[in-house]
């Protein structure tokens, strides 16, 4: 406290000095430095005079040793792909090739499924829940201890800001293993009054937006429940899953319990089609989710899907507006908008719409888009050229459909895949940006007049993943939450995740939940 007061005084003094015309260049510099550190009040005196930028604050990449080539992880060992083929994985912020990753085919998948089956019938299947749990605790701990290594690799391979991989992805991934570890010897409490057994061999296919975190979401409950797994990471972002394989080795997890086969869509299709897989769990787009559901419709394979969304973020006129603006920024620009539950449709009450938009524009202007390895970066690189092209195409289409388009006038790097944050306001509910999941930093804004209208508009989508509500009135929040058809509702907050909190959607946003007690159930077969 004392320190703060002193600085405040010094700043005022400095500000005064600067106003008195007696200063020399050197004094100006000192004053600028002090003002920079001080409160808003002090800054407001002379804010216009000092245009300053952040210095680069890059996280070191020295902690990561990226190999020139990565193999599949099958039966506890790294093995070369049957086809001998490898694909490149790039850093989307620089477009440089980081490494080569094995391309899996049916033979690789078959080897992995056989290893998983063997482990299920052998060591893992016969192990007590308590022992299984100890392996999961061990994995969680190693992840925590190697957290920075994972964070740096995640950002290099995927383009997300280091502050997000460091503060969100990796700690949450470790927390998921920690949480489900404790379930392994308490399964009987998950199905009160019944007996349950593991489903069997699970094929898990995960996306590129939260690579390690999605691997943890999938693996932790499956293993806690006693299943064995064949995991296929996204082809754009396989590296942290393969580093996780090293952690599994370090944790001495029995061979075959987790197998990782890398590759693109064909590899995923081979896994889905394999006759000895008992369950498929997929996170990704609704289109691919439907293809998977079709592919296994003739079988008795179990299925959980965590798919897309077009989640509404409702702002009532009695909301704490500055907080709501922060929530909207976090809702749509977190992870470049590559978030299935992104708050991509703002519904703002008409009476405050103008003020809201003014504040939003100002806040968007302060976003720093650029080097994901920089600790001050808010919006990193778009994950791939393909995704950047898709975003650009949707934005171009949106521009032809009327309404207001606003893009923050911020600098973006000339190299790599970057996209300025933007919004479309007052477009029709049937417009492209109001309906289609952009999966990028592009927001749609519409207005409403009554709570019923807000709920109707929010529910006017085939999706049902998440929604946000901003209001200072508790009863209004609860009534709105009851009316919204979505699996996750954030009231006066947004994009919060926790291993104890079930996540997943209604309708075309998928089947089943991940996280919490409810996230354990899809991996159990009640007798």
């Amino acid at each position: 406290m004392t320190k703060k007061k002193t600085t405040k005084k010094a700043a005022k003094k400095a500000a005064k000095k600067t106003t008195g015309k007696t200063t020399k260049k050197a004094t100006k510099k000192t004053a600028a430095k002090s003002v920079r550190k001080t409160t808003k009040k002090a800054v407001s005196v002379k804010a216009k005079k000092f245009v300053f930028d952040y210095d680069p604050a890059p996280e070191s990449t020295a902690i990561v040793n990226i190999k020139s080539r990565y193999e599949h992880f099958i039966n506890g060992e790294f093995v070369a792909p049957e086809s001998g083929k490898y694909m490149s994985t790039i850093n989307p912020a620089t477009t440089e090739v980081l490494s080569k990753v094995a391309v899996g085919n049916e033979k690789d998948v078959d080897k992995a499924v056989k290893a998983a089956r063997k482990a299920l019938n052998g060591t893992w299947g016969q192990m007590s829940g308590a022992e299984r749990g100890k392996y999961l605790f061990r994995i969680a701990r190693i992840l925590q201890e190697r957290a920075r290594e994972f964070a740096v690799l995640e950002t290099l391979d995927g383009g997300k800001p280091i502050k997000e991989s460091r503060d969100v992805d990796i700690p949450l991934a470790a927390a998921h293993f920690f949480y489900y570890a404790g379930w392994a010897d308490k399964i009987e409490y998950a199905v009160p009054g019944r007996e349950a057994k593991p489903v069997g061999v699970c094929g898990q296919i995960i996306p590129w937006n939260f690579p390690l975190l999605m691997a943890a979401w999938k693996l932790a409950p499956a293993l806690a429940a006693g299943n064995t797994v064949v995991l296929k990471p996204a082809e754009q972002t396989s590296l942290t899953a393969l580093l996780l394989a090293e952690v599994l080795q370090e944790a001495e997890l029995p061979a075959g319990v987790v197998n990782i086969v890398t590759g693109a869509g064909e590899t995923g299709a081979a896994l889905t089609a394999h006759s000895d897989v008992d369950k498929i769990a997929f996170t990704g787009s609704t289109d691919i989710g439907k293809i998977i559901a079709k592919a296994i419709s003739g079988t008795n394979k179990k299925l959980t899907l965590e798919l897309g969304g077009k989640s509404a973020n409702i702002i009532y006129e009695d909301a704490a507006l500055d907080q709501a603006v922060e929530g909207v920024i976090n809702g749509i620009f977190f992870n470049q908008g590559h978030v299935c539950c992104a708050g991509s449709r703002v519904l703002v009450e008409e009476s405050i719409a103008d003020t809201f938009m003014k504040k939003l524009k100002k806040r968007m202007q302060q976003l720093r888009v650029g080097d994901p390895m920089d600790k001050n970066t808010d919006i990193g690189a778009i994950n791939s050229k393909e995704q950047l092209d898709k975003i650009k195409e949707l934005v171009a289409k949106g521009k032809t459909e009327g309404g207001e388009f606003h893009e923050a006038d911020v600098k973006i790097p000339s190299k790599g895949y970057f996209c300025r944050p933007s919004f479309f306001a007052h477009q029709s509910a049937s417009g492209t940006i109001s309906r289609v999941e952009v999966f990028g930093p592009v927001l749609s804004i519409q207005t409403f007049r009554t709570p019923d209208e807000a709920i109707t508009k929010a529910n006017d989508t085939n999706y049902g993943l998440a929604a946000g509500i901003w209001s200072e009135k508790g009863s209004k929040i609860h009534k709105t939450a009851l009316g919204l058809k979505a699996g996750v509702i954030w009231a006066n907050t947004y994009n919060k995740f926790d291993p104890t909190s079930p996540f997943g959607g209604f309708f075309e946003s998928g089947y089943g939940r991940e996280g919490g007690l409810q996230g354990l159930l899809p991996y159990l077969e009640v007798k």
Binding site: A175, P192, G193, R194, T286, G289, K290, A293, K294, S297, G298, N300, L305, I477, A481, A486, G487, V488, I489, W490, A491, N492, T493, K496, D498, T500, S501, P502, F503, G504, F506, F507, E508, G510, Y511, R513, G516, L517, Q518, L521, V526
Partner: protein, 279 residues
Amino acid sequence: MKVVKTIKLYIGGAFVRTESGRSYSFNVAGKDTQFARLCQASKKDFRNAVESSKGAFKSWSSKSAYNRSQILYRMAEMTEGKRHEFESLFMDSLGKTEGEAKEMVDKAIDTFVYYAGFCDKFHQIAGSINPVSGPFHNFTHIEGVGVTTLIEDDKFDFNSLIDSICSILTGGNSVIVLLGEGCPAVLGPLAEVMATSDVPGGVINILSGHLDELSEVIAEHREVRSVSFQSTRDDVFQAMKLKSTDNMKRMVPRHKNEKCLENILSFVEYKTVWHPVGY
């Protein structure tokens, strides 16, 4: 001379004939004598039932759990009152003995009572307050998936039918029951139980008809959020699963056990709400 009636469909709380003007006969067990005529519901009848069921879902799901519980208990009471009608129907149309018919009705009544007592409890067992690491109050609440279609066809089992109806209603859903060709003329007394149990019109609709004719429209209808498939015809189930992937319907296979929590949880969605805690 005996008056043989045509048993009507039950849609939106009203007894109606099929708009298609078709019917089929159901014979007395082991004989060529007709027991009753049943309406052969058309695709249009099904769509009408969905429309009515959609509106009813709102009113049913917003009723208090206590109220739903009392209505399910009322169904048990009304079934008891119609016991003799059900029993003679099972004896005449299915060839059951008096003892078997009585046991069928006894079990069904017990099932109504079982689920009546579950309406205001399953939320506490399967819902949760989640201890997230942060200053948030976080809870998972359970609600019905929406309009559900229940398909009962061959291998008619009265108790299994009542179990499925109850588990769907207990979850807060509305239901359209399709009694396929393999089912006896149970529609009549069952619909009368529903009509006199204070359940709002449209919450339960009962159709008689041919599964092969209606399976496609059921699978493709976007407003039908879930299907409970109690028939043994796996070929139809798989075809329906394929057809319904576009609207991502929840396709629920034949249940393994009766009178249990899992049956209710097959027809619910979990909704998790976060709110900050602070001054």
